[in-house]
Point group: C2
Chain length 266, copies 2
Amino acid sequence: MGETSDDRRRTALWVHAHPRRGSLNGRLFDVGTTALAPHYDVTSSDLYEQRFDPVLREDDLGSLAGDPGNMGDLLAGAYEAGELPSDIRAEQDKLAAADLLVLQFPLWWYGPPAILKGWFDRVITGGFAFGDVDPESGIPVRYGDGRFAGRRALVVVTAGEDARTLGPRGISGDLDSLLFPLTHGVLWYIGIEAVDLHVIFDADDIDGAGVDREAERLRERLRHVDAEPTRPFRRLRDGEYRGTRALRHDLAPGRTDLGIHRADVA
Amino acid sequence: MGETSDDRRRTALWVHAHPRRGSLNGRLFDVGTTALAPHYDVTSSDLYEQRFDPVLREDDLGSLAGDPGNMGDLLAGAYEAGELPSDIRAEQDKLAAADLLVLQFPLWWYGPPAILKGWFDRVITGGFAFGDVDPESGIPVRYGDGRFAGRRALVVVTAGEDARTLGPRGISGDLDSLLFPLTHGVLWYIGIEAVDLHVIFDADDIDGAGVDREAERLRERLRHVDAEPTRPFRRLRDGEYRGTRALRHDLAPGRTDLGIHRADVA
């Protein structure tokens, strides 16, 4: 088996959520997608450019619109029936093909902009990305498992605040915890493993030379992103959560912080 | 001074973010706004009903559209110049008048639906809600201070998962931490104090009798919401954050979890 034993060319999806193409984010989007091109077939979702509609509403349900039930189950039903709107199916097709997912956005109110939050709400539906149950164990296939298991993601985020303010004891909360709903709640839920966040702090005060430095830092990061370790969240199927719900008492005993969900915490 | 010394009738703003008026959320919206009416002038923002546009874009900047700078500063400039769009000014007027703010939504991907996230992105702008600096101390007026200081908020959230899954050691992360970007990052940032979350777990499996029970539980909660203690986050101006950024070493020593930002943690 030689170096080229995996002949399949890999695919990356870069999702970008900043309104200004002339911004630091716009520059990093261009730099990043270009840097990946030698190694990946790169597709992108430039959400503002596409005028992506982030509002999940009845219209997404096709012929199930108005049916009783909760939105999540109905969305899964609409997926199974092939009735999701074409803009959603297009995003699902891109995500389904992606070995590497990059999510890039400015931190607005300590989370992704609405246009990206709604991409999760509408695109990552049951049936498509989760919802199976393991027939042998009866355990739901989620948190580290499922169709997207083994794929990886990089989160690129610009923040107006500095590294101390968003650091482990920073007044705004540490960024890893603030984005846990994304790295664990969205990505890991469907099996995607995130590498460490790529953060540009003080992004509002950056000058031209600073932008060039950040562009180079992102290029360098992407050169090795395939070889980086991912954050080791615990897998549901490994039996560490009692009744699939709460962490066993013998693991991270007495602790109740979000850090207990890392598999490298004893 | 008698019981009626504060003659001003208070105002509540109820923001609702569920697409279905016939849902559990729709019912709780009706029940909640009705229950408050004897004690408050109740206004509401039913975001789906209003077809609220949650996408912050260049159009929000008025004559500053296309100007250099970051979106946050430009939004503040557009506010000061009276150039924000009318839908945003209407929301700001409602928020400015509110002594009590209720935010009600289903938990989607471990956070608010995009339509509510975008309400934060677009409505809570600099100039309007934050951005002052204390002239004596030079400390920015935020985290517990400012125009909205002393007002209170109730977050009403329905979740498909159960109390163990979203509890302190639950696999999905505890809900207080998942919503820290909202209770601390949005509300406390502009001075608004939140009382404990009002959570409806297992919301997807609830039957008619369960809906009635939840309606009554919400009514009961609202009866006393004015008297409840709020969660005691630390105030920036109290000097517990070094250089306004990271928590002093002598407070919650060695800890790096989000719980360190509570003022009742030694």
